[in-house]
């Protein structure tokens, strides 16, 4: 299966079924920019997991890229991760009490 065809990009074939590392999202958008059409469809078929970093990078790039990006076959787990990021609540810091020792 070709990862790129016409105005579509099949993300599983380009990268992996598990989308983990932030840099690979940047690579995805480099590939998207090689597509000549102004509208690009990103096909998430077969994607099993997505990291927070990948999802964040994807959404950020989608906002700034000069093409219209739409998605299809987005699995529930990916939708939930996109939502978790788009909520964009202020980051909470944990307050940890730790016992200090020497080793």
């Amino acid at each position: 299966m070709m990862a790129l065809s016409n105005n579509q990009i099949r993300i599983k074939d380009l990268l992996s079924e598990d989308l983990a590392i932030r840099d690979t999202a940047k690579y995805l958008f480099k590939q998207i920019n090689t597509i000549k059409t102004p509208k690009v469809i990103v096909d998430f078929k077969g994607i099993k997991s997505i990291s927070r970093s990948f999802a964040q990078e994807y959404l950020q790039n989608k906002e700034i890229v000069s093409k219209s990006i739409s998605e299809k076959n987005v699995p529930e787990t990916v939708k939930k991760m996109f939502c978790a990021i788009e909520i964009n609540k202020p980051k909470h810091n944990l307050k940890l009490k730790a016992i200090s020792l020497n080793l």
């Binding site: 990268l15 992996s16 079924e17 598990d18 989308l19 983990a20 590392i21 932030r22 840099d23 690979t24 690579y27 099993k48 997991s49 990291s51 927070r52 970093s53 990948f54 787990t77 939930k80 991760m81 939502c83 978790a84 909520i87 609540k89 980051k91 909470h92 810091n93 944990l94 307050k95 940890l96 009490k97 730790a98 016992i99 200090s100 020792l101 020497n102 080793l103």
Partner: protein, 267 residues
């Protein structure tokens, strides 16, 4: 008795120290080896090209060979042996998919979402912040003891180095690790290069602590952090225990069915 993660790291340090005089890794009396000992040990052995006296126990020797990729495991796959994470991130992404497959996509160990989320965060940290030359992972599911142990090591700049790069000074390495696990972001500072390492570590710590009631160990340069039985400990490390780079291990009991990570835990 199951040694905890810190004890297992200390075992690595003991073996490493003994090797300084003998120029050999002596495992002859070892009867049980966990990833948190084995991963830094194999890296140390390979890096220093040291001979190894293998365990006398056949079972332990076989296990050592399997985890060191000297022998294949013909039985059911319950482990990820010493596995290098490629420097190229595209290849790294493919390697992660292989790792997931080896551990059954997280079935019974928190479910696909939670298991993969935690591994992804760890691997992402390594690729984004460590500036590593070498990075490795190792994991073992213990069906009888009913727990999973996952370990990562990279020889990069370490958490203190990551903060230093962002021009954030701390009194000790352990304090930088504490800030990282508390989720300190340096975005508010004028620095253009934020360590950001805290994000992944703090969310993972929260999941391990609150959702899995598990254990976590982070060792980086001369500092360490240990979550054990819901208590946190931070350590200044003496010379014997210092580690160049960063080691992160976590351990939790299974079976744990699908843990919901989308309930605010990862925001």
């Amino acid at each position: 008795m199951n040694l905890n993660l810190l004890d297992n790291y200390k075992k690595f340090c003991d073996i490493r120290e003994n090797s300084i005089n003998t120029k050999k890794i002596d495992l002859s009396n070892e009867t049980f080896l966990y990833p948190t000992t084995l991963l830094p040990l194999i890296n140390y052995q390979k890096g220093n090209k040291l001979d190894c006296i293998k365990p006398k126990s056949d079972k332990t020797k076989d296990y050592f060979d399997i985890m060191n990729n000297l022998q294949t495991n013909s039985k059911q796959k319950t482990s990820i042996p010493f596995t290098e994470l490629p420097k190229d991130s595209i290849e790294g992404n493919k390697k992660i998919a292989e790792i997931f497959e080896l551990l059954g996509d997280g079935k019974n160990v928190g479910g696909e979402n939670a298991f993969k989320y935690m591994v992804n965060e760890m691997v992402t940290n390594i690729y984004e912040h460590s500036k590593f030359n070498n990075a490795y992972t190792m994991a073992q599911k213990y069906p009888n003891k009913q727990f999973l142990e996952v370990c990562f090591y990279d020889d990069g700049i370490g958490i203190p180095g990551s903060f230093k790069k962002a021009k954030i000074e701390f009194d000790s390495d352990k304090e930088t690790i504490m800030k990282a696990v508390e989720g300190t972001s340096t975005k508010e500072t004028t620095s253009t290069e934020s360590p950001k390492r805290g994000y992944g570590l703090s969310r993972n710590l929260k999941l391990i602590k609150d959702k899995f009631n598990g254990e976590m160990l982070i060792v980086s340069n001369s500092g360490a952090f240990h979550l054990h039985e819901q208590k946190q400990y931070k350590y200044d490390l003496s010379k014997k225990y210092i580690l160049a780079g960063t080691l992160v291990s976590y351990r939790y009991k299974f079976p744990v069915m699908d843990v919901n990570i989308y309930d605010g835990s990862i925001e």
